[in-house]
């Protein structure tokens, strides 16, 4: 646990994070044929569903072991086993991801053991794989729950079986949007790379209108693919915040010798260049022309609008990796990430941000373990021109009379949160245009003349 967690003496006000089991559910929803089950009170599952539906606007079935007083006293074994059986009966899933809760962990339920007992009791049944993960909400944020789950999935499903075949990479993107995952897969395909992206909720949480309702939506990282992750040439972990104990990539390296390549989120030109260089490295092929062209257009647009963004002060918040990525992007376009805040508290964010800013931190205030009260306070001092983050910062933006460009998760007050593209040149293009246009809108609205050309 980070020192910060113990140093919070009083209440959190308007949290800039949610709880670990939500991250687990999000990750499990990105696995083929999978359904999550939260081992806890009924409310945990329901609140998580509601929160995620508000962003993804898709059905979001999350089962619960529905603790009652009996389970809280005698342990949750019976309810968990019954819950698993009922989920199997109703959904016929290929995988059930079981996330623990503060309640089950506090009463001392050993999830791994309970799952093992379940499987022993049911030998001979054609049961789905059950993946337990420990995600007590008192020990981490949704981001940590997400990464712990990715690691637990690899731990349970990835085997050494089969030879290495051609060039293949694993990508562990962290919490990004379905559009981001789709784009990452497109890039990997364009490089001719066999790949596994884990998780992959690009279809499951941003599905098409369909004629036949699917209890578990199609898509997700294929189970066979996850099993084959041991055969990859490398694992690209798009996070600079994880400790080796938290990283699924580190586990693949340690257990199967698949090298882990740590990259931050490829947001903006510089970080995306690094991402593409890594892919060039692995494949021995140059960046496909379509992406090189996108890069060219992006840089061209940077030039077109550079004066409008230069020196603009931006408050950035969200998961730590997202904040680092956005801060680096803002720096390269000449804007100032004046406040960088996250509810996460890995202890690594400040150093990482400092390393990405061309002239170091300077005026930039980095807040980890922050809530929106901290962010409001810092923002009031910083006098920003713009807020960049999820929709939970709206009240701050409104209070300060500053526009908010919505990125990340969750976006509860606009359409299309699931389709916001952040990654690679194309994602940076969208971010850049949105930011420049928001600043232009502000300038135009505030101008007494109301000029028609900029």
């Amino acid at each position: 646990m980070s020192p910060h967690a113990t140093a919070t003496p009083t209440a959190t006000q308007n949290a800039c994070k949610v709880c670990a089991p939500l991250g687990a559910c999000l990750a499990f929803r990105g696995v083929e044929g999978a359904i999550p089950l939260v081992h806890g009170s009924q409310g945990c599952a329901t609140y998580i569903r509601r929160y995620m539906i508000g962003h993804f606007r898709e059905p979001m079935d999350v089962a619960s072991s529905s603790f009652g007083e009996r389970s809280a006293i005698f342990g949750g074994k019976d309810n968990l086993h019954k819950g698993l059986k009922n989920v199997i009966k109703q959904y016929k899933p290929r995988l059930i991801g079981v996330a623990s809760s503060c309640l089950s962990e506090t009463i001392g339920d050993d999830l791994r053991m309970l799952v093992r007992q379940f499987q022993e009791d049911r030998v001979g049944n054609d049961d789905p794989v059950v993946v337990p993960v420990s995600t007590p909400s008192y020990a981490g944020t949704h981001d940590e729950g997400f990464h712990a789950t990715v690691r637990a999935i690899i731990d349970r499903l990835t085997t050494t079986a089969g030879p290495r075949c051609g060039s293949m990479v694993n990508v562990l993107p962290g919490i990004v949007s379905p559009a981001d995952i789709r784009h990452l897969k497109e890039i990997l395909r364009d490089f001719g790379l066999d790949h596994v992206v884990l998780p992959d909720y690009s279809d499951t949480l941003d599905g098409p209108a369909v004629a036949e309702y699917e209890p578990i939506p199609s898509g997700g990282s294929p189970l066979r693919g996850i099993a084959r992750m041991a055969q990859a040439d490398a694992t690209l972990v798009l996070s600079s915040m994880l400790s080796p104990q938290q990283s699924g990539g580190a586990l693949l390296e340690e257990r199967f010798g698949v090298p882990e390549r740590r990259l931050g989120l490829p947001i903006g030109v510089r970080q995306t260049d690094r991402f593409f260089r890594t892919l060039e490295d692995i494949t021995g092929r140059p960046t496909p022309p379509v992406h090189a062209l996108e890069r060219g257009r992006l840089v061209d647009s940077y030039v077109d609008a550079h004066k409008y963004v230069f020196g603009k002060r931006v408050v950035v918040y969200g998961e730590e990796d997202l904040v680092v990525g956005l801060a680096a992007f803002l720096d390269e376009i000449g804007a100032v990430p004046i406040v960088c805040a996250s509810g996460g508290h890995s202890g690594r964010m400040q150093k990482e941000i400092a390393a990405h800013l061309e002239r170091g931190l300077g005026e930039t205030v980095v807040l980890d373990g922050a809530d929106f009260a901290d962010i409001t306070e810092a923002a009031a001092v910083a006098q920003p021109d713009l807020l960049l983050g999820n929709s939970k910062g709206y009240s701050v933006a409104r209070q300060l009379g500053v526009p908010l460009v919505r990125v990340g998760f969750p976006i509860h007050d606009r359409m299309g949160g699931q389709r916001v593209l952040h990654l690679s040149y194309r994602g940076a293009q969208q971010l850049f245009d949105r930011i420049a246009n928001e600043l232009l809108r502000r300038m135009q609205d505030d101008c007494p003349v109301g000029h028609a050309h900029y």
Binding site: M1, A5, T6, T8, P9, T10, A11, T12, Q13, N14, A15, K17, V18, C19, P21, G40, S41, Q42, G43, T46, Y47, R49, R50, Y51, I53, G54, R57, P59, M60, V62, A63, S64, S65, S66, F67, G68, E69, S71, A72, N79, K82, G83, L84, K85, N86, V87, Q90, Y91, C102, L103, T106, P136, S137, Y138, A209, V210, A211, Y213, P215, S395
Partner: protein
């Protein structure tokens, strides 16, 4: 019947097709993916709109984060209820206990926000780690000179309904702590309306126009000082009977104040709610004023309702809501529009409620208690349907099935209560049913089946 778990089969009934049995008021079945939340949720829903109170959730971050500013409950003054406060417990707090953290949090927040009272919600693990919340509340109350009320709401200790009770108990502790000598004779409390989109204001205005004084509204646009005077009314008018009947009974037992159960959804029910109060006071002038009011209000909306009715006649609706009283009203309101209810379900109905629901529904209606997404899908398809009335979790299901949707939950931003609310409801149902987008959606058969069914 497909997809119905054995444990749940007697929680579904088809009117006229089988003998009357409907099990209800049971804990949710593990693994069923109930649409319900938990005890904490019940208490939070009821107390949420008390706008000048501090609401602090004692527990890990999830419960507070998921209930931050999620409801449409408006306030005419302070808006402290829209903030989210949590003790955000971490591992060290669990080991050492978190009483002091709660105490420090309360002191800091009371000093900062100067609330008129504080509600302290105990979530799942608080009892397990041995915190004496009652003692901390007492101490803080004595030091700060405001009521600090514990709300015993561990998620697992019952259902959402038990949470309603916990909230009512907390409210009842406030009652009787302020003088009521100045309350005029024709005085009521409005219980169980939460001022979603200003609905309490609509209702209050009707009563005031009738010449009825409203002592307190619990909890819509709620104020601590008003709640202390709940005992000053002559009659409690209880809407959303599930959540507030407990408080009404307590007020009856201790202060001899009778209560009536009413609903403000739909023309008939709203009119009945007003007439009943006029009759209770036995004042003929008041009765005349009520008649005039109803005539005027109904006349104002009828022309518009008629035009919608032409399009909506014969369309089929499904209802899945929290409490049964709302379901009754919706069946009637839909009938006003010429529509038919083919599925009616609730999260928390009682045996008595369901009998009443059965009686007002048409033959062949499916009646369901504590449904899950798969059951809802199955019955929506089987019954054939044009619009689904529910909350955000139901919205995702409706849209994926290609059905219209009307939000009738606490998150809605549209006032649906009173006569004007009926007009808004009709507008919304009309907009969603008549939208041309459905013609582009691949057919799930759900609408076609309706044609066959007619």
């Amino acid at each position: 019947m497909v997809n119905i778990l054995k444990e749940r089969r007697n929680q579904v009934h088809r009117k006229g097709k089988e003998p009357w049995v409907l099990a209800c008021e049971k804990s949710s079945v593990a693994g069923s993916v109930s649409q319900r939340a938990c005890v904490f949720c019940g208490s939070r829903v009821v107390l949420y709109p008390v706008a000048d109170a501090l609401h602090i959730v004692h527990g890990p971050i999830g419960c507070a984060a998921y209930t931050w500013d999620i409801r449409g409950a408006l306030s005419s003054g302070p808006e402290l209820h829209r903030m989210s406060f949590s003790t955000d417990l971490n591992e060290m707090d669990l080991v050492h206990g978190a009483e002091m953290k709660l105490y420090r949090s309360l002191v800091e927040l009371i000093d900062t926000y100067q609330p008129r009272a504080a509600f302290v919600y105990s979530t799942c693990i608080v009892g397990l780690i041995g915190d004496d919340v009652e003692a901390i509340c007492k101490r803080t109350s004595a030091e700060k000179g405001i009521p600090v009320l514990p709300v015993e709401a561990p998620g697992f200790a019952g259902t959402k309904k038990d949470g309603y009770k916990a909230a009512c108990n907390a409210l009842f502790r406030l009652t009787g702590t302020a003088p009521v000598d100045d309350v005029p004779p024709h005085a009521i409390n409005i219980l169980g309306d939460f001022n979603v989109a200003g609905e309490t204001w609509i209702i209050r205005n009707y009563y005031e126009r009738m010449g009825v004084h409203v002592v307190a509204t619990a909890t819509g646009d709620g104020r601590v000082d008003d709640l202390r005077r709940l005992h000053g009314a002559k009659l409690n008018v209880v809407q959303c009977s599930g959540s507030m009947t407990h408080l009404a009974r307590s007020l009856e037992d201790k202060y001899g104040i009778p209560y009536i159960r009413v609903s403000f959804f739909g023309i008939e029910d709203t009119a009945a709610a007003l007439y009943e109060v006029a009759k209770f006071f036995g004042d003929s002038a008041m009765l005349d004023r009520t008649r005039a009011l109803v005539r005027e209000e109904v006349a104002a909306i009828m022309p518009e309702l008629k035009t919608y009715g032409e399009d909506l006649k014969g369309k089929r609706a499904a209802i899945y809501v929290g409490g049964a009283f709302k379901a009754f009203s919706l069946v009637r309101a839909l009938r006003t529009l010429g529509m038919r209810t083919v599925l009616a379900g609730t999260q928390t109905g009682s045996a008595e409620d369901y009998e009443q629901l059965r009686d007002i529904c048409d033959p062949d209606t499916v009646i369901i208690d504590d449904a899950n997404p798969l059951e809802l899908c199955t019955f929506l398809k089987e019954q054939g349907c044009d619009v689904f009335i529910g909350g955000v979790k139901e919205r995702a299901i409706a849209y994926k099935l290609g059905l219209g949707f009307c939000d009738h939950n606490h998150e809605r931003k549209e006032a649906l209560a009173g006569f004007i609310g009926m007009r808004n409801f009709a507008r919304e149902v009309h907009a969603t049913v008549m939208s041309p987008v459905w013609r582009l959606v691949p057919s799930s058969g759900v609408r076609e089946r309706r044609e066959v069914g007619v």
